[in-house]
Amino acid sequence: MISFVINNENVSFEGVEDTPLLWVLRDHFKLKGTKFGCGIGSCGACMVHIDGQARKSCTTRISSVAGRQVTTIEGLAPSSTQLHPVQQAWIAEDVPQCGYCQTGQIMAAVDLLKEIPKPSDSDIARKMKNICRCGTYVRIRRAVHRAAELMAEES
């Protein structure tokens, strides 16, 4: 049995130890906001935070998560009425088209802004590696800048 924390809640999983975290989140804990895109850690649709760092859940074995804190998109907002600044910026810049990759993009952006609170375009190009098949990159770039401003105002 593997015990860990998802979105501040203690949980345990009794299935096969090499199951990727992605499928444990989706099939077992029914947290559907973390998406499956490639299964090889390439596209980033499955991005979550483990102990506060962005990780691709499709290539993270559940056994490696024992005792650690997992945050998914469902646990990102501070409360049900208040969104995270990155989520707010994503809405304000009207980023999504099909929307499928956006939860992973948002988790990547939160990680980027933690490391670089005021990123340049080239920081964004270097750190935001997730694929958006609809091509919303221009708006993602704008939203990351807006989120940086929102977070600077908050702090």
């Binding site: 299964g39 099909c98 609809c134």
Partner: protein
């Protein structure tokens, strides 16, 4: 939506285009539907045909729910379509909630009918087809609400008007909210005549930028896609499909697979025979389990012996060899104006070039998946699909169930791009559910999606122009050897296969007196289908590249050459999809606009270059200007892209900009790096490591979008932002360094050319 229809059979008149339904919802709200009957339209796999349906519900809190019949694939219909209803209904846009309607199939004495009209998402048709109709829906509902209020007040309807969400009677100084009169309005007969629609100058919602309606659900992970379907008791399934085109399962050993914890069943799936229409793409072995991971692990443990099928000799090299051999001979003449041969003999100068377009994969980010529950007398499907009627038909073909007993629900779709116009994955899910006798969710992996697709067709184009002594084009031919998209499509005879490859009325047809289009059929086992802006992606690249080659050969300016050819402001007949007319001057208007943006006449040095291109796609007009820098070692830097579109009237300008941006980036991603190749009768690529979609790091520093409304009827926007990008880019490369790219993708051709 929990509302139920109260259907008045007497109002149905099969001879009319529409019938009206008014009624009360279970919750007492007002509900109005004006569905249409059109039996054939839904069975067109090409486009969602021109019929629509809708659903308006006014709730007790005065909020409004508007149903949308077409699936949301990222093209923005969930926002744009309800805006049309809300405008005429006269409600605050912020009070509107949107719900996806399921497939509305009903059986009538005359056959199958579509309660909500055509529900496909393809061909950029949704907004155009529903432009009048959805506004009439809103306007009719508004009239009924006014009438109900007037009857309550015992005044004439003429003395009442509406303000957003309110009926107002000035003479009484009285106001009633829509929710106050909704129940009474629902009991009124639906007005017979067409309502008067607003003067566009009065629009409050149409033409104003609106955000994606479910942005909050998307950014919080609450939006539900097909892959998120989770029904108690369902099994999870994957299929190992034969990697050989038209190959099969000779034998398989599942003993190891069955030992994987969670695996409950393994069996063979029979695909189509070589050359037969595709219900599914390939034969394979299905693994059914209690979780996705168990199914994937079970699949990995299978030991399958494949029969290699009839195409083991096929490779990308053999494909190109075949196109070259075909172009040495002659093909099917599909348009022949004037006297081409004679005009070519008379020409003072001849310009000629060949261009190569690769197969490409759709690669929507949500891999194919489908929930299916097939029972003895009915079936329930939940799928991310662009063509729900096709999903229904596919399940009927698998199960033999009557179509009206097959319920199809559409989820939000994680990208379409034409891939989900075909419902092979729905048929597969139904096959598995039928076999196990219970509900199942079929999941494709990324490898499944890259290796098994209805790829965008590949082909080699030869273009030749004859010029007179002044450099005027007197004769033109485009000869295309390609593998048609209509391959294995039932009801398309060989002589009509060209229709998906060459659009006979596309520019420059009709602009050059001596003009010929010729098509040559390439034999290939690669499945093909509709890929965003289908053949326009190939033809725009070819025609707009070749115009620059003519300009270069004659010393003319590429912009002026286009302006001269497009000519004055006039409507020309256009028989292909997006017609009935084409006004080439609207392309000139876009080109002049973007030329101004990029300071067209400026001299560019230091390996810098500018390219332009324009194209008419499905009723909409698009143009791109691209500024590049090419280093001496062939490093390409895209410094700036200016994209412009004229979609008539922009219903949601912010959504139009999004589609233009997305189309531009899709065009860029595909032109730079994307290609599907074949070796020994198998697809070579398998995931994003060798099918490298564009990422943020490759994004040009500047991408500007310009929406230039023209008025009139809005066109769709899903596709027209894409075709002119690739030729504008390669024209810019030529302008920068003199290397003409005639083969897509561009990849490392520049580096090789610069050695």
């Amino acid at each position: 939506m929990s509302a139920r229809y109260i259907r008045d059979e007497k109002t149905i008149d099969q001879g009319r285009r529409r019938f009206l339904i008014g009624g009360l919802t279970a919750g007492g709200g007002f509900l109005l539907g004006i569905p249409s009957i059109h039996l054939l339209a839904q069975d067109s796999a090409e486009t969602g045909a021109g019929q629509i349906g809708f659903f308006v519900e006014i709730k007790a809190d005065n909020s409004v729910t508007i149903g949308v019949a077409q699936p949301e694939i990222g093209q923005g219909v969930r926002t744009a379509m309800p805006m049309l209803v809300a405008e005429e209904l006269d409600v605050e846009w912020s009070s509107v909630r949107v719900e996806q309607m399921p497939l509305g199939i009903i059986k009538t004495a005359d056959g199958y009918a579509w309660k909500y009209g055509g529900q496909g998402a393809g061909g950029s048709t949704s907004v155009t087809d529903n432009w009048e109709f959805l506004r009439e829906v809103g306007a009719t509902a508004r009239l009924m609400l006014i009438q109900a209020a007037a009857e309550y007040w015992k005044v004439s309807s003429d003395s009442c008007h509406t303000e957003p969400g309110m009926v107002v009677c000035d003479s009484l100084g009285a106001r009633l909210s829509y929710s106050d009169v909704a129940a009474a309005a629902a009991k009124l007969p639906v007005p017979e005549e067409k309502p008067t629609l607003k003067d566009p100058a009065q629009f409050r919602i149409i033409g104003k930028p609106a955000n994606v309606v479910d942005a909050r659900e998307i950014v919080t992970g609450q939006a539900r896609y097909g892959i998120d379907t989770d029904v108690a008791g369902m099994r999870y399934a994957v299929i190992q499909r034969c990697p050989y085109l038209d190959g099969g399962v000779e034998s398989f050993d599942d003993s190891k697979a069955r030992k994987i914890p969670g695996v409950v069943d393994v069996f063979k799936i029979e695909g189509p025979g070589a050359g037969e229409p595709y219900l599914i793409l390939a034969s394979g072995v299905a693994v059914v389990a209690t979780s996705t991971w168990a199914a994937l692990q079970g699949r990995k443990a299978l030991d399958i012996k494949w029969s290699k099928g009839p195409h083991t000799g096929e490779s990308t090299a053999s494909f190109w060899k075949q196109t070259e051999q075909l172009l040495e001979g002659s093909g099917q003449i599909v348009r022949d104006d004037g006297g081409f041969d004679e005009a070519m003999k008379q020409a003072d100068q001849v310009v000629q070039a060949r261009y190569e377009i690769p197969f490409v994969n759709h690669a929507p980010l949500e891999p194919q998946n489908c929930y299916a529950s097939v029972e003895k007398d009915k079936a329930h499907i939940i799928a991310p699909t662009q063509m729900p009627s096709g999903a229904n038909r596919a399940v009927a073909a698998v199960t033999g169930l009557p179509r009206e007993n097959i319920q199809v629900e559409m989820t939000r779709v994680g990208g379409g791009f034409g891939r989900r116009l075909t419902n092979d994955y729905v048929a597969e899910a139904a096959m598995i559910s039928l076999k196990i006798g219970g509900p199942v969710k079929l999941q494709w992996s990324r490898e499944d999606d890259v290796q098994h697709d209805f790829y965008r067709p590949s082909g080699m184009h030869e273009v030749k122009a004859g010029l007179d002594g002044d450099g005027n084009i007197t004769a033109w031919t485009q000869r295309l050897a390609s593998a048609s998209k209509y391959y294995r499509r039932p009801n398309v005879p060989p002589e009509e296969q060209f229709g998906a490859e060459l659009y006979v009325d596309d520019f420059p047809a009709g602009f050059i007196d001596n003009f010929r289009l010729e098509w040559l059929m390439v034999q290939s086992g690669v499945p093909r289908g509709s890929w965003r802006a289908p053949a326009h992606t190939a033809n725009a690249f070819v025609i707009q590249s070749f115009l620059d080659e003519v300009a270069h050969a004659t010393g003319k300016d590429p912009l002026q050459l286009r302006l001269d050819l497009y000519g004055e402001n006039r409507d020309l007949p256009y028989s292909n999809h997006g017609g009935p007319t084409f006004n080439p001057w609207r392309l000139s208007r876009l080109l002049q606009h973007i030329a101004g943006q990029v300071d067209y006449g400026k001299s560019r040095t230091g390996g810098r270059g500018l390219g332009i291109a324009s194209h008419f796609t499905f009723g909409g007009y698009g143009a791109h200007a691209v500024e590049v820098q090419v280093s001496k070692t062939g490093e390409l830097t895209i410094e700036r892209i200016v994209a412009a579109v004229d979609c008539g009237l922009a219903v949601n300008p912010r959504g139009v900009e999004a589609q233009l941006e997305g189309g531009t980036i899709d065009g860029l991603s595909t032109a730079l790096n994307l290609e599907i190749t074949v070796q020994d009768g198998q697809i070579v690529q398998s995931n994003f490591h060798d099918y490298p979609l564009l990422r943020m790091a490759q994004l040009p520093a500047v991408i500007e979008t310009h929406v230039l409304p023209y008025g009139g009827i809005p066109t769709g926007m899903g596709e027209m932002g894409l075709p002119s990008l690739a030729p504008a880019l390669t024209n810019a490369i030529f302008n920068a360094c003199g290397v003409r790219i005639r083969k897509l993708p561009i990849r490392d051709q520049l580096k090789q050319a610069m050695i």
